[in-house]
């Protein structure tokens, strides 16, 4: 996994913008209508989800190898 995805669920309204613009299909909407990571290994840390999230609910950081 090259990235670290942080979700602030309390802010998420489940609009699906991050899911639609993810080029690697990393994200999905769960039964509660909130975003969740479905395939973390596929994430390339491009940040498209974070860029357009209207609710500032998802954050992607490149993982720093220690």
């Amino acid at each position: 996994m090259k990235s670290e995805i942080t979700i602030k669920s309390v802010r998420c309204k489940g609009c699906g913008i991050c899911v639609a613009f993810c080029p690697k299909k990393v994200l999905g909407i769960n039964l509660l209508g909130k975003v969740q990571v479905v395939d973390s290994e596929a994430c390339i840390a491009c940040g498209q989800c974070e860029l357009r999230c209207p609710d500032y609910a998802i954050f992607v950081d490149k993982k720093v190898e220690l």
């Binding site: 670290e4 942080t6 309390v10 802010r11 309204k13 489940g14 609009c15 699906g16 913008i17 899911v19 639609a20 613009f21 860029l51 357009r52 999230c53 209207p54 609710d55 500032y56 609910a57 954050f59 950081d61």
Partner: protein, 273 residues
Amino acid sequence: MLERSYEKYFRQNRLPHLWCPGCGNGTAMKSIVQAIETKNLDQDKTIIVSGIGCSSRASGYMNFDTLHTAHGRAIPFATGIKLANPELNVVVITGDGDCTAIGGNHFIHGARRNVDLTVIMFNNHIYGMTGGQASPMTPLHKKATTAPYGTVDRPFDACHLAEAAGATYVARSTAFHVKHLSDMIAAGFDNKGFSFIEAVVQCPTAFGRKNKMGDAPDMMKWMRDTAVMKAAWDKLPEDKREGKFPIGLFYQADFLEYTTAYQEVIDVAGGAK
């Protein structure tokens, strides 16, 4: 995770905001604070003024001195602030209805005077908060609750309007082009004079649903596919412009700024002693 640096510009106890799921206003608001951060504007010397409507709720979430004013009257309040203390950076957040209908006169006269304000108009093409009535910027033949067969009124092009009225910086971007929008706003801060930036945002709840434009991601794809950068737009033949709109910097001019002009009057007249 490292907390994002723009979070300090939001009132954390007011988030999450009340905008609908998928509303573009949140993205546009983030673009504004990122532009403020880029230009290093002092948080204590930046004032956010807004009118009434969905867009104008933004002032409540932003951690500056803010003023949520009467419908359409954000620009007059902002003019007063700027004249009282020309050192301040005054930012106006308004919507398409607030700016071009209720505040239409204030808008053109603010531009005519060339007051040093940065006006950011969130254009969602409709009155969202009151239930989806047609605004002066609802595109021709698009549906609204007050136009069930499609509106027959020709819409304003707010950028043309601002330019014609005397604004010295006019630009447009969209909630899809987040970085571009932020850059357009940041360049507006640099202009000493009336700067107008139209931010096209998606309204999936009122405008999108009425016009069968799909959900929020579909509306963002619509912006991606129909917005054309200014340079490409200029080369686009007339017949291919149908259904598309240009984005980018449209107009920039140098003209004496209002508070400077007024200071000259104060100097001549002696001012209050």
